[in-house]
């Protein structure tokens, strides 16, 4: 996949005023939306809407959620166990008397926080190691590739479990633990992509020119290589974010994620809901589950849409739009009328 999105050569870092720069960034963000069409545009737009809704829920959780994530009572009294969805609790309550709607809303905050942290960590470590490995080469490269390949071969979930298991011993099962466990899973992916791009860009003429002009290794990596490598990051990062949500939920489901008293976590809620399912109680599992699906769906749609618009290997030249003959429309109306 790395070679498909070969970065365009030439670092075009523009030394411009802040306003112009911002405009350029905004235009860069808007570009895939303007350039996409058909299925790709549909995916991009739907995905963006879903992700935006979830991020808004995450940011405004304290105002949107009717209760706290571990609140079991109000002044009016306790919520009660397994109250079906109704006026007081639109999504019902759990066996621990928690309000499911509040858990779902607060869960969005947890998911977004953990995934953002995990992505930042793994992106940083992966990019730095990948650049070093690709640029320095020799034994460092060999060693890192060997270790990263081995990490990549382990089932992602297993790796996350082991790291969470170990960290929970030192740090306890908090948001940081979950984020670090997920970080470990995604480092090898960024490492691979960045290393491959670095190795191929290292030989480029402009890097040679920079070296001839006396640029040191740090400058070359930071200015010339990094700028070319980051092009491939958005697609991987969005798709990884989707995957990270699933890993977080899986950790929670197995009991290795965030402890229920610290934050609301969808995977943990689903674990509790499995025993409810046997008793025909559907609301405790249904809503957190749908929340996971929507967020992952949104991120995947954005990632796929970006991939399709930005990856020239997948792009097809747009054919002339087919104009539907009026006959078709009238016949359908007739069909409806009948």
């Amino acid at each position: 996949m790395a070679q498909a999105t070969t970065p365009v050569a030439g670092p075009e870092v523009e030394r411009a005023g802040g306003g112009r720069r911002l405009r350029r960034v905004l235009r860069g963000i808007a570009r895939p939306y303007r350039e996409s069409h058909g299925v790709a545009r549909f995916m991009l737009v739907t995905g963006t809407v879903l992700v935006t809704v979830m991020v808004l829920l995450a940011i405004f959780a304290p105002w949107i959620a009717p209760y706290g994530f571990n609140q079991v009572a109000t002044d009016a009294g306790r919520f009660g166990q397994h109250v079906p969805p109704g006026p007081g609790h639109p999504f019902g309550t759990t066996v621990q008397e928690l309000d499911v709607l509040s858990r779902v809303v607060w869960g969005a905050r947890t998911a977004v926080t953990v995934v953002l942290l995990a992505l930042l960590f793994s992106l940083f470590i992966g990019v730095v190691l990948g650049l070093l490995s690709g640029f320095v080469g020799r034994w460092l490269d060999r060693g890192l590739v060997l270790v990263m390949d081995a990490l990549y071969a382990l089932p992602a979930l297993l790796l996350a479990i082991v790291v969470a298991f170990l960290l929970s011993e030192f740090v306890g099962g908090g948001i940081a633990t979950a984020a670090l466990a997920i970080t470990a899973v995604y480092i090898p992916q960024y490492f691979r992509v960045v290393r491959a791009a670095t190795v191929s860009a290292k030989e480029a003429t402009y890097v040679e020119a920079a070296r001839a002009m006396g640029a040191g290794p740090v400058t070359i990596m930071g200015k010339y290589l990094l700028a070319n490598v980051v092009h491939s990051v958005p697609v991987i990062a969005t798709l990884n974010a989707a995957d990270a949500i699933l890993t977080l939920a899986a950790l929670g489901f197995l009991g290795y994620g965030i402890q229920p008293t610290e934050a609301a976590e969808w995977g943990y809620d689903l674990q509790r809901a499995v025993s409810d399912a046997g008793a025909g109680i559907w609301w405790t599992g249904m809503f957190p589950g749908i929340a996971i699906v929507l967020l992952v769906l949104g991120l995947t749609l954005v990632g796929e849409g970006l991939n399709e618009t930005m990856n020239p290997a997948l792009r097809v030249r747009r054919l002339l739009p087919v104009i539907m003959p009026p006959l078709e429309r009238t016949s359908r109306v007739e069909g409806d009328a009948r």
Binding site: G38, V39, F42, L146, V147, D149, A150, L151, A153, L154, P155, A156, L157, L158, I161, V162, V163, F165, L166, E169, F170, A242, L246, A249, A250, F253, L254, G255, Y256, G267, L270, Q271, A273, V274, A277, G278, A279, G280, W282, G285, M286, G289, I292, V293, V296, L297, T300, L301, E304, V316
Partner: protein, 344 residues
Amino acid sequence: MSTRTSGSLRTYLVTRLLLFIPNVLVILTIVFILMRVAPGDPISVARGGQLPPEQIAELREAAGYDQPLIVQYWEYITGVLRLDFGETIIDSREITDILVSNGGATLTLTLSALVVGLLVGVPVGLWAGRRRDTHTDAALRVFAILTYAAPVFFVGLLLQLAFGVNGLGVLPTSNQADPIVYAQTPEVTHIFLLDTLIAGDLSAFWNGIEHLILPAVTLGLLLSGIFMRIVRVNVVQTLRDDYVEAARARGVRERRVVVQHAFRNAMVPFVTVLGLQVALLLGGAILTEQTFNWPGIGSQLVRYLTSRDYVAVQGIITIFALAVVTASLLIDIINAIIDPRVRY
């Protein structure tokens, strides 16, 4: 990249097998480091506070945890070579015993999920790739993304709600068989379905199948989405290839072009990707086993994790890692046999 057009198959196989050794060694080292960086020793962690300190010290010595790390590392590596993964701390079971008695359940689950995944994913992928950018394609792609976006345990939960006692009430939602049936079937191979056949008990076999359906479909759906995407992309790409065009130009009928020329060649890269899914399959199996109370290795892993049994966790993870590496070795060999281009 080598410019030689075809290396011999034997050279490839020997090289690949030789590469397998450092590969395994690195993975084992990583597992060892991950499991042993924690302060304290496994025995104190699992049994601390339960036993008097003298007894813990005794157990530590017996298990060799008072030795320097490098000695323990050597013990671990040589142990794995002898297929000895150690003994669990909390219930003194050999790890190989876990593999034997619970491996059958995991194998049954993963293989049947693979079958479900292939049966659903491949035809749907071929179909979607053939009708690229139509409404059918869009709908099928949404389906594929949905199977990916829905965590296996959520799908499992929905299936339990739909088909379990409180839904349609047609399928059991936990274990490999009804307890009585399970107890009455003599264990021979530790693979329940095989055991029922050996015992000649068809109603028990059917009972096992009924119990298998929901877990297999749950895990199979996850795979089907991935298979579908891979097959679709490959079909789309092959249909654009020159030789497909050439076949059309020669006047080969469209149906034949699609089936003989495009689909067949689209399946070649599929084998490679299949190998990459083994890790995902095992990860998914852990979650599925947990959701359906399926007595496989994954559920054992979760049990030992909960009781903080390092030796058991380390052993089971070693087994999983070995399974993945071996599977990718096998896939590479199969690939080299089918496709001469991958040889060195």
